[in-house]
Symmetry: C2
Subunit: 109 residues, 2 copies
Amino acid sequence: MKQAIQCLSALAQETRLSAFRLLVERGPEGLTPGELSAELDIPGPTLSFHLKELAHAGLVSTERRGRSLAYRARVSRVDRLLDYLTANCCGGDADLCRDAEAADGRRRA
Amino acid sequence: MKQAIQCLSALAQETRLSAFRLLVERGPEGLTPGELSAELDIPGPTLSFHLKELAHAGLVSTERRGRSLAYRARVSRVDRLLDYLTANCCGGDADLCRDAEAADGRRRA
DNA sequence: TGAAGTTTTCTATATATTTGGAATTATGGA
DNA sequence: TCCATAATTCCAAATATATAGAAAACTTCA
């Protein structure tokens, strides 16, 4: 649970969510803090604070590339997060769960 | 994006995450604030504050049932959240994305 | 080794969230 | 209507998070 909250908190902030999504789009090549700082128009220290938060949650990894660092998104973390959030849905009864969602949809429609 | 942050923030808190997961497990029958308050050992006003947060994010729905309310989890919101977080992964190049994850895994192993 | 480029740490301030007791509001049944 | 139950709102204090300038630390390449 601690880990899930860490991931959720990390993504529940505008600057960090934007940075993470840029990194997801970019793929394996990654982006440097300098590039992110420019792209997001955020001062270095502020960005650094947020990247640290994402790294601490395991949502990004880093690798040195020349004189800069390359930050990359770890998308698999997001998948694991989803699994945790919906674990044992409807007590494990898939049919019940499907019905519940359908009923819920009907109510809103 | 606003909506995604709202969902993430709502779940990024111990009491709310616990409540949400209890509701997910319970399925369509739902749980009343009183039951949740007892189960989680949280004072009424505190729980109420958190349920409001979840409801505001669209993660739970309510329905009156006799003298109480039934809170239910809206699991579909979580699915949509995942889609948003990983949208346009690796610029839409699925092969690239798969490779990136595999490489990342190798690095960590 | 030294200088330039990158990124992070330090630090203070501003802002936002969480908590729970007391009071209030809403509901259903007699 | 009136009472008992259920849940929410109000409020103030405690806690946590975000921001960015100045300074420091780490890398690389000449």
